[in-house]
């Protein structure tokens, strides 16, 4: 699977770049919209949380930091993961036109949607960092490690998207269920709220959440400027591998029939 992805890297990359470039094709300021949407999100939340709720987060050094950075550090990765999974889930059906006519490996299309989401995520993080500095954050070398958890999370999104995308060819309700489930799933992770408001007994269970290690790591690196504990590192890489292997097995098993049905 990985070999064919490498072989089609050119296609995956250009398609993702084109997707981002063409997303706002026909609009006056075009590509700038890619920044305006996350910017609007950040500004809205920072106003809401600084004036209405005046939520602050401690960074363990007694300093209070704006809640909006905590929120966006979790929300942006989640939105990207959400996009990778939901769009990846319909990737085969949406690209039936290609699958019917060209002998391209199926997973290439899921990979290109995951790549699009990843590029958007990285752009959003650049923006977030640009805003975090004037809000009182000092850049550290740890920030250079930020792409690691973000890409690990997107690898998880790709694996889950591929798994669901394969099944969705056979059972078309899956894409709808996925959208609904992800909406609920967002609240199973401390993104909008903080983990400390949860009951104590939930925390050990939460550690097994596939999304948790990456989001934890992002926050540790960005807000506390320190390396996260070992179990986060293991989880961050293990989950994408686990789902990747499952997706690969399912795809292998069903591959012969996918193009019969799209």
């Amino acid at each position: 699977m990985t070999i064919s992805l490498y072989r089609y890297r050119g296609f995956i990359w250009t398609r993702a770049v084109n997707d981002i470039r063409n997303r706002y094709a026909g609009t006056g300021i075009g590509i700038v919209w890619n920044f305006i949407h996350p910017l609007a999100l950040i500004v809205t939340y920072s106003i809401v949380f600084s004036t209405l709720y005046s939520q602050k987060i401690d960074n363990m050094q007694g300093k209070h930091l704006p809640y909006v950075v905590y929120l966006c550090a979790g929300l942006f990765p989640w939105l990207a993961l959400n996009e990778s999974i939901t769009v990846g889930c319909t990737a085969f059906v949406a690209n039936a036109n290609y699958l019917r006519k060209l002998p391209v490996p199926e997973q290439v299309f899921v990979a290109s949607t995951a790549m699009t989401a990843t590029l958007t995520l990285l752009m959003n993080f650049v923006l977030l960092i640009c805003i975090a500095i004037p809000l009182g954050f000092t850049p550290t070398v740890y920030w250079l490690l930020l792409p690691v958890p973000l890409i690990a999370l997107q690898a998880l999104g790709f694996s889950i998207g591929l798994l669901l995308g394969t099944l969705n060819v056979f059972f078309r309700d899956i894409s709808q269920w996925t959208t609904v489930t992800l909406q609920i799933a967002m609240w199973t992770v401390p993104i909008v709220y903080q983990a400390k408001i949860l009951p104590k007994w939930v925390l050990p269970i939460l550690a097994w959440h596939p999304v948790m290690p990456s989001i934890e790591t992002v926050r540790e690196l960005l807000m506390k400027s320190k390396l996260p504990p070992a179990h986060d590192w293991i989880g961050m890489f293990a989950w994408p591998v686990v789902f990747g292997v499952i997706a690969d097995l399912v795809l292998r098993k069903l591959r012969a029939e996918i193009r019969d049905l799209v």
Partner: protein, 436 residues
């Protein structure tokens, strides 16, 4: 070089048909011990071999498995049984276009397809000017594919695949969409590819003429199975014969009636009015190849053949003249209608097409309720075989506005001993000076 480029053996494709998609889940859950699907074999036990420089033709009705076979060979379907080996690149022009991205320009689509086919990064760029020239799309080459007509997509697709010079090129019915001059160009290009001895071409077409002309071998698929394979002439003949017997000749889209070979229909038709007698029996039955268009204010009462004595006949002797007759009734008054007819043979060669307008006649006006019988005298000259009659009525001011139009709708047979081959029997027995 005569090395084998394509070799397929006992190739089969089975589709599983489920009445409900979730029955599949039941099967999975039972680990295969419950069967909730019906098998449909689109293709069964097909074997073929193709060497460099050879062209293979595939004939068969719709649903005979042609597309399935081509999709298997192009790698977009996986065979259920058997397998195949292809040496080198295989590109296929299936259906319309080839998975173009509608938002990208023609040029960008060529680049994307090259990447999708796993070609080297600069490959498309190197061939771009050649593709641009061959596709002949003008400014459209740099505009989104979304605004292309289907003919233009095919032009782009063919130009691209021909330029990439695959070892094996697969062409489905797609070419039929292009206009005649582009089709001619495509066939010429394929001829070059075949003659260069480096490539092989596989064609599936309704245009059996193309198959007899280009192919070195042909296979006939029927119900997913190989009915016959071998010499294209023989295969095509057997195939057409079978179509005729079963009466399901594929229809060709009606084209503007060409005015070639007009001479075969002699003189002007006799338009007799108001005596509108329609024979009660002996009318020709509508053929199953018929393409019937909606009627406007007119009724076709019947189509029949009359011999020179005015008797209704069902078949025609080679040496005898015959009249093609039809009768219509106007339900709406018409000032200047134009009656027309044409005769095609089964391969779709336009033998003759003419109209009252082309014959320099002015007919009408007709009141509502009036009828007319039109008799078109046909000189002897058709060879032994089967023929299709089309008839229609349009308006003098707007010849493309048909009041009624029935294409390839009536069929008749010319019997006798064939005294010549070819399309028309225009040569009589020769005179010899020694016998004078």
């Amino acid at each position: 070089m005569s090395d084998l480029l394509v070799r397929a053996w006992s190739l089969g494709k089975r589709y599983k048909l489920y009445d409900n998609p979730y029955y599949r889940l039941i099967e999975w859950a039972s680990f295969g011990s419950t069967i909730r699907h019906r098998d449909f074999w689109a293709l069964r036990d097909v074997a073929l071999e193709l060497r460099r420089g050879e062209c293979l033709g595939i004939v068969g009705r719709n649903g005979a498995g042609k597309s399935t076979l081509l999709r298997l060979l192009s790698g977009t379907l996986r065979p259920t049984t058997g397998n195949f080996e292809i040496t080198g690149q295989v590109f296929s022009l299936l259906e319309l276009g080839t998975g173009f991205n509608a938002e990208l320009t023609g040029r960008a689509n060529v680049q994307q397809t090259a990447r999708l086919l796993g070609l080297p990064p600069n490959y498309a760029a190197e061939h771009m000017s050649e593709i641009e020239k061959f596709a002949d799309l003008g400014d459209f080459f740099d505009r989104p594919v979304r605004i292309y007509s289907s003919g233009m997509s095919v032009r782009l697709a063919f130009a691209m695949f021909a330029a990439f010079e695959p070892e094996v090129l697969i062409v489905d019915e797609a070419l039929a969409v292009g206009d005649a001059s582009f089709q001619r160009k495509c066939y010429r290009r394929m001829e070059e590819m075949i003659e260069s001895g480096l490539h092989s071409v596989i064609i599936a077409a309704h245009d059996t003429g193309a198959i007899t002309k280009f192919c070195d071998k042909a296979i006939w698929l029927d119900g997913g199975q190989m009915r016959m394979s071998g010499n294209p002439q023989e295969v095509v003949q057997a195939y057409l014969k079978e179509l005729l017997v079963s009466g399901s000749l594929t229809t060709e889209p009606a084209s503007a009636a060409p005015a070639s070979l007009e001479a075969a229909l002699s003189g002007a038709p006799a338009v007799r009015r108001p005596a509108a007698e329609v024979p009660t029996e002996g009318l020709l039955a509508r053929s199953r190849a018929a393409v019937i268009y909606p009627t406007v204010g007119i009724q076709l009462l019947g189509v029949w053949l009359e011999d020179s004595a005015g008797h209704i006949v069902q078949t025609v002797r080679v040496d005898e003249p015959v009249s093609i007759c039809y009768s219509v009734r106007f339900t709406v008054a018409q000032k200047n209608p134009v009656f027309g007819t044409r005769v095609y043979n089964i391969r779709g060669d336009p033998l003759v097409a003419t109209s009252t307008l082309m014959q320099g006649m002015s007919v009408g006006p007709y009141n509502a309720g009036e009828s007319e019988v039109i008799r078109w005298p046909l000189r002897p000259g058709l060879g032994v075989g089967d023929y299709f009659i089309s008839c229609g009525c349009s308006l003098q001011d707007d010849p493309h506005h048909f009041l009624f139009r029935e294409v390839d709708a009536y069929q008749f047979t010319v019997l006798g001993s064939p005294r010549c081959s070819g399309i028309l029997n225009l040569l009589d027995a020769p005179q010899l000076s020694s016998r004078a």
